[in-house]
C-alpha cells in the first residue's frame, strides 16, 4: 500500500506528540519519550576489563570488585567500596546497583532483580575460612510484592584444592572451597532450592567467588581486583 499524504500527516502527528511529551517542568524525557526509549531495545551489555595500568592512570586505588552477571546476558561491571557499616562493606557500581559484602560473602544486594535483603554470614564465613563445616542459613529475598520471603537452607563446606585464579591479568594462588546448600523444605511453588557456591581463598581471605543470589539474578562472580 502506497503511503499517502494522509499517512505522512498521521505519522508526523504521532511523532510530534511523542516529542512534545518531553515538555514540562519535570526533568527527563517524559513518559512517551521513556516508552520510546524502551522500544529501542536493551542497551549493549557492559564489559569491565581494564588493564591494571588503566586503573592506576584513572586513579582507582580503593577496594574494587569486578562483578560478572549471567542473567539475562553475560556482563561485567566494576564496583568500588562506598563505605562500611557494622563490618559490612558496601560496594556500588555506576548504575546504582549495590552489594553488601561481609568476609567476602554477599550479605545483601540492591539493584538486582530478586534482591537478597539479607542472610546470616557468621557461620558460613567461619566454615569457608577453614574449608569445612555444616550450618544453616536463612535467605531473605525481596519479592516483587514488596514482601520478604524467607528460605532456610542447610549447607556443607568442603575444601576442593589449590587453584590459580587470574584477575585482570594478575595471577593469584588460591585454595578452592565449595559451599553446597539445599533448602530444608519445598517452597509453595514446589521447588526445593539447591545451589553450590565456590570461593577462592588467598591467605585466608576471599579473592574470588561465585555466589547464588536469587532465582532471578542467578549466580554472581565476584573478583577482588583491589586491594
Amino acid at each position: 500500500m502506497a503511503m499517502t499524504r494522509a499517512h505522512v500527516r498521521w505519522i508526523g502527528l504521532i511523532l510530534a506528540s511523542v516529542m512534545l511529551a518531553s515538555c514540562g517542568t519535570q526533568e527527563g524525557p517524559g513518559t512517551a519519550g521513556l516508552i520510546f526509549e524502551r522500544l529501542k531495545g536493551a542497551p549493549e551489555p557492559s564489559r569491565f576489563s581494564p588493564s591494571r595500568a588503566e586503573l592506576a592512570a584513572a586513579g582507582v586505588n580503593q577496594p574494587l570488585l569486578r562483578v560478572v552477571t549471567q542473567v539475562p546476558v553475560t556482563q561485567s561491571a566494576g564496583y568500588i567500596l562506598r563505605g562500611q557499616a557494622n563490618g559490612a562493606q558496601f560496594y556500588g557500581a555506576n548504575d546504582g546497583s549495590e552489594l553488601q559484602v561481609r568476609a567476602g560473602l554477599i550479605q545483601s544486594t540492591v539493584g538486582f532483580v530478586g534482591d537478597l535483603d539479607g542472610t546470616n554470614i557468621t557461620a558460613p564465613a567461619r566454615a569457608i575460612a577453614t574449608g569445612q563445616g555444616r550450618y544453616s542459613r536463612v535467605l531473605r529475598h525481596r519479592r516483587s510484592e514488596g514482601k520478604l520471603f524467607e528460605t532456610q537452607i542447610n549447607c556443607t563446606v568442603t575444601r576442593v584444592g589449590a587453584e590459580q585464579v587470574v584477575i585482570l591479568g594478575r595471577s593469584h594462588n588460591t585454595t578452592r572451597v565449595a559451599e553446597s546448600c539445599r533448602a530444608a523444605n519445598e517452597d509453595p511453588a514446589g521447588r526445593t532450592l539447591a545451589f553450590e557456591n565456590t570461593f577462592w581463598l588467598e591467605n585466608g581471605a576471599v579473592r574470588a567467588s561465585e555466589q547464588w543470589v536469587s532465582y532471578e539474578t542467578g549466580t554472581l562472580r565476584l573478583e577482588q581486583v583491589l586491594p
Binding site: W10, L13, S17, V18, L20, A21, C23, G24, T25, G30, T31, A32, A42, S46, F48, A57, A58, G59, V60, T69, Q70, Q75, A77, G78, R82, Q84, A85, N86, A88, F90, A93, N94, D95, G96, S97, E98, Q100, R102, Q107, S108, G111, F112, V113, D115, D117, G118, I121, R140, R142, R143, S144, E145, G146, K147, L148, F149, D187, P188, A189, T217
Partner: protein, 757 residues
Amino acid sequence: MTAAKRRLLTGAISAGMIVLSSPAVPQEGLVRGLLGLPEKDTRPPQRAFVLPSSDPSVSSEAAPALRAASNFYGMPGLIDMPAAHALPDGELQAIVSSFAGITRTTLTFQISPRLTGAFRYNRFADINLDGFEDYYDRAFDLHYQVLREDEDGWQPALAVGLRDFVGTGIEAGEYIVASKTFALPNEGRLRASAGLGWGRLGSYGDIGAPFGEDRPQFVPGDTGGEVDFGQWFRGPMAPFAGLEWQPGGRLQDLRVKVEYSSDAYDLEAGTQGQFERRSPLNFGVEYQANDTVRVGLYSLYGSEIGAMVTIAGNPRRSGTPVRLGGPGPVTQRPDRQAAPEQWTSAWLANPNAPKAILDLLTPALAEQNITVTGLSLPGTTSAANTAVVRVENGGYEAQSIVVGRTARTMAALLPPSVEVFRIVIENGGLPTGEVTVRRSDLERLDGTSNRSQALAAATTVGPAPVSDEGVIAPEGRYPNFQFSFGPYLSASLFDPTAPVRADVGLALTGNLELSRGLIIEGVIYQKLAGNVGDGRLPDTELEPVRTLGTLYADNDTPTIRRLTASYSAKLSPNVYSRASVGYFERMFGGVSGEVLWKPVDSRLALGAELAYVGQRDFDQRFGFQDYRVLTGHVSAYYEFGHGYRGQVDVGRYLAGDVGATLTLTREFANGWEVGAFATKTNVSAEEFGEGSFDKGIVLTIPMQSITGQVGAQKVSRQLRPVQRDGGARLIQEGRLYERVRAGHSEAIFADWSQVWR
C-alpha cells in the same frame, strides 16, 4: 569521582534492575474465605511485610507444571468448556477467540488465588437480533475454585462458575467441574476434566433437570444487566468432559486438547443457522510462545475452524523494573566519648541553623525524588533531641523507600545530637502519617543480616501533627508551579455502530501550589483527530448527565477539561478535610466539600462529601447549562490486607437518584490496581435502560511500571459495559481517602522490605 574513573567503572548491568515496585466488619471472615486469603494476620503491623511460607498467594510465583489455560470464553477451561484449575494469582489476560462468526474479546483477572472474574465483549456476525446487522453483547463471568488439587494425592480440583450472569443472558450458564492432573514420563502432564452444566452448558445431551425445569430464555433486545439468581442451576443439566495433554521434553510448549461439549448452540446453529453443529467433539492444539503469548487453532463442532490468541501479564511479576541507585551505608556519628564536643546542642542557639540545614536537606532529597516541605528542629515543636522533616513522595510506589531515604539523608546531614527522626508524610500539602525512626537504630542495624525486620520492629507510625506551628518551609517553596504538555488518547467503547471510537490530541496540564494545601490546577485539551463525537446519542428517561458524552467530545477548539482550586487541611489527629471550587470534570462544575475520618493505624475509614454542581456547556469553556444538582455521599473504606480493599458509597447521584455503590479493588506492589464496582439506585431497570444498573471495572496502571523510571503519573480507566445516567457520580480529583491512606501504617508497612533501597 573523576570522569576517567567513572568511565572505567562502566556498570550498566541489565540484570541490575529491580521492580518497585488494608475495626472489624462482620463480613471480613466471609470475604477472606471467598477470596481464598489466609486467616487474618494477627501479628503487629510492623511485621506484616514478612510473607509466611504458608501464604497461598506464593504458590503462583513459579510457573506450574501444567500451565493454566483459558477457554474460548477467556475463563479457566478447555476449548469451549470449563475446567477446575485457576489462573496464577493476579494474572490479567486479554483473550480473543473466534469461530463461526462468533468473536469473543475477554479481559480476565485472577482476583484472588481461587476467584477468577471476566468481562467479555461478544460479536455475533450476521445474527440479526433486535434490528442489528451484527449482534454485540457484553457479559460478566465468575469462576471459583472450591477445592485445590492435591497433585500427589487423589483429590481433584473442584470449581463452580457462573457464565454471563449479569448480561443479557445470551451466553448464560452455570457449571460445576472437577479436574485432575497426572504426571507423565519426561515431565509431561495430562489433565482430565469432567463436569455438569446448566443453561447453555446444559443444552446438549441433558440428563434431567434436578433443580427445576423453569429457566427463562434469552430475549433479544432485553435491557439485560440484572443478576437473575432464580435461574442459576435451573433447567436441563448436561455432562461435559475433556482432556488436556502437555507433552514433556522439547514439546513442553505445546498442548493438545479434546473435549465433549454440552453446548447445543441452539441460537447460532439452530434458529439463526450461523453454522452446522455436526458433532459435540472439539479438538485443538495450542502453542505457548513465551510467558505472555499463547496461540491456538481448533476444530469445533465438526464443521468449524476456530482460533484463539491470549496475551497474559501479571502485575505481581511483570512490568519494567525501576532502577534505583543503592543508597550506600548510613553515616555513622563519631564516638561520643572520643569526640564529645561534636555531640553538643550548642548549634541550636545559632539562628541560621534551621535555614542552613534546610538548604542541605532540600536538594539532597530532591535528587532522590523526595520534596521537603518543612522542618522543625529540636526544642521548637519537639523534644530536645528530635528533628521533624515534612516530605512529599515524588513517585515511589513503596512509601517505605521515602522513609528510608529521608532517614538516611537526615543521618548524613543533621548534627550528632539529633537522635530521633520524625518523618511526616504529606500528600498535596496534607500531613497524613508520621514515622519515627531512631538514628541509633539506623546506625546499629545497617549492614546487618536482618536489618529490614529489625528496623520495622523499632519504627513507629503515628498521626501527623495537625498544626504546622514552628515548621519552616524551604525558601521559595511557595508558590510552586509545574506544568506538562503532551499527547492524550481518549477512547469510547462498545457503541454497537462502532465498538471502538477514539480521539487523540494534545493536553496542557498545570498545577500551582500557592501555600500548604492550597492548589490551583487545570487541564486543557485540544483535539486533533478522532471520531468519539460521531457516536450515538442514546435515549434516556433520566436527566442526561452522562449520555450526552458525544456532544462533549464533538469539539475542535480547545476545551477546559478541568480547572479547580482546592484547599486541604487536617482538622484533628484523625480527621481530614477538603474544599474545592471550579470545573471538576468536563460535564460538571461547582463547589464541593469533603471530610474523612481515618486513624493512622486503622483499616477502616469513614468519609462524607457534598457538592452543588451545574452541568457545563458542551464547548467546555466557562458556561453552564440550566441543570443544577446537589449531590453527595457518605463512604466507608476498609483495607482487608494483601492489597484488597473495599468501599461503599451511599448517597445522591448526579441525576438525582439515590442509592449505593460497592467497589472492590486489588492493589499490587508495583502500583497496578484492578477493581470492580456496581451501583444500584432507586431508578428501575426500565428507567435506567440498557444494562439495568451501572457497573464496570477499573484498571489503574502506574506509568513507572512501563517506563522503568520513578514518577507519580498513573493512567486509570473505568471500563463500563454501557454508560447511562443512573448511578453516575461526580468525578472529583484529589479525593481524600487515596491521599491519606498512602501515608498511614498499612501502606507504609505493606512494602517495608524496600526501606533500605
